[in-house]
């Protein structure tokens, strides 16, 4: 089973979010970057488990500049066999998806795994775009994926207030949610082996941007918290009713 796993680089979850002085760009000064948790903990680890079950290869693809190589190497250390970085800096999900699809078309993948969203732009868009551009069946928010045989996957999909169980035959594309796999920490052997695994850099095809970010802003500061006397819960209820008007 050959699986393509698409990974992004994102600021770590505790990063302080600030912008350059004209608010046009994210200020990366002092920010640590990680592999997007949904891509790493769930998509990549489950792909590696399926490879261990059926044989085949796990390929990582990332769209980005050379600074992303450390994140890609971590994916190789966790257990992917090879990696490709498409040397582009897209402004939109659609460009990213086109780059991935153009690369994926050249290979023969039985499945394409992505995270359900990145923790920076929170778009949840690239996975469905890749599926559409590759004309693959698409299952979103996969929190469980079992394959007893290589010809059929049984996927649990998270929906509002519950789950759906879905059958699909390869080749298919999924977006990965919590539960799909358990986070795997790379061991020293993995880290050493990753240095010798191939990381190819390919130049992108021309793709046009349908949109761009004009400006970033931070949420308005919250006013001071109103502290309520713990002995007077009637006062809290009154404020929620009369002032906040939420009950």
């Amino acid at each position: 089973m050959n699986i393509l796993v698409c990974v992004s680089k994102t600021p770590e979850t505790t990063a302080k979010i600030t912008f350059t002085s004209d608010n046009s760009e994210f200020n990366t000064n002092g920010v640590n970057f990680i592999m997007n948790p949904y891509d790493e903990w769930y998509a990549l680890v489950r792909a590696i488990e399926l490879k261990e079950q059926f044989g085949g290869e796990v390929t990582i693809v990332n769209v980005g500049p050379s600074e992303n190589d450390s994140v890609i190497r971590k994916g190789l250390a966790i257990g992917a066999d090879k990696a490709v970085r498409i040397n582009a800096e897209p402004k939109s999900a659609l460009e990213t998806a086109h780059h991935i699809a153009n690369f994926a078309k050249e290979g023969s993948f039985d499945a394409v795994f992505l995270g359900k969203e990145t923790i920076d732009y929170n778009g949840s868009e690239v996975s469905a775009m890749v599926a559409e551009l590759l004309d693959l069946p698409f299952v979103s928010f996969a929190s469980k994926l079992e394959m007893e045989e290589e010809s059929k996957a049984i996927i649990t999909r998270d929906i509002e207030g519950g789950t759906e169980v879905i059958e699909v035959a390869p080749p298919f594309c999924i977006s990965s949610a919590k539960g799909l796999a358990e986070q795997k920490i790379p061991n020293m052997r993995g880290i050493m082996m990753a240095k010798r695994k191939p990381l190819d850099v390919v130049e992108p095809d021309e793709v046009s941007a349908p949109l761009e970010v004009k400006e970033f802003s931070l949420p308005p500061e919250k006013g001071e918290v109103t502290l309520i006397d713990p002995e007077d819960m009637d006062e809290l209820v009154r404020l929620l009713h009369e002032e906040a008007k939420v009950i």
Partner: protein, 319 residues
Amino acid sequence: MSVIVYAESHDGTFNKKAFEVVTYARKTADLLDTDCIALCHGADSPEQLGIYGAQKVVTLESDALEQFDAKTYTAAIAKAVEQLGGDTVILQHSANGKSIIGGLAAKLNCGSVSAVNQLPTNDSGFEVVKPVFSGKAFAKYSISSDQRVLSLMGNSIPPEEMGSEDVDVESLSLDLDAPKTKVVKVDKVKGEIPLPEAEIVVSAGRGMKGPDNWDIIEELADELGATTACSRPVADSGWRPHHEHVGQTGIAISPSLYLAIGISGAIQHLAGVNNSDTIVVINKDPEAPFFKAADYGVVADLFDVVPRLTEAIKRFKAS
């Protein structure tokens, strides 16, 4: 070119989010000086969408739409957009809407912005704002393509009665390929409003000390008609089911009232809840970071104060 909105129904019924997205679409259509057409499938009363602003309702008809398959729904909406002449498509930012928006943008080869939470502007090109960095910031996008697709975050704008049920309802038969995925089972938590749709959420954390102490949380939630949630450590230690986990790596929610009980307020937790309208924090540690994000705070032992809050709500409801 029209604004076309897809309103989701579940078991034939629209919920509040469907009416929100129709109102949002109508206001967008007014801004662009055009009309608002609502699409739906399988709804018992499609004309209800007229009340919230749709000037025409089109029901999508095809056997292929009987189960949700992202690509089939994407194809259906794309065909409707083509036949009805739409340049702006608006979806709900729901599990299904999120599964459609990307594919639809790829099919139409246009710009898309998901999880928008404000109306667009059209003064210097089509611009729209969405939360980014898990709610820690906002980004204003400018879309340059001729068409565009948006998905609207729930609880961003209230549904408004902008029209009437006396609206033109047409059906549109679509020729669609059979879905390549098969839904074999649907499990829904019974009797509770799903977290992403809940107006009031009562959430508890490690301060609860153990899974056996949740009675007081459930009693409070019952009195408020609220859905229960929890922090990540609570879900990870198995005190509560994973579907209750709200935060950056759990579910992001934006209810009108969020009560955080015994949750310190780690940045990853705040990221998933800071779009709530009103936040109440109950914690015995006055230094808990959550108080900085709260509208109302109670510094007290939760085991003491939560039952008294429940009693106060009972008195309020009785009065």
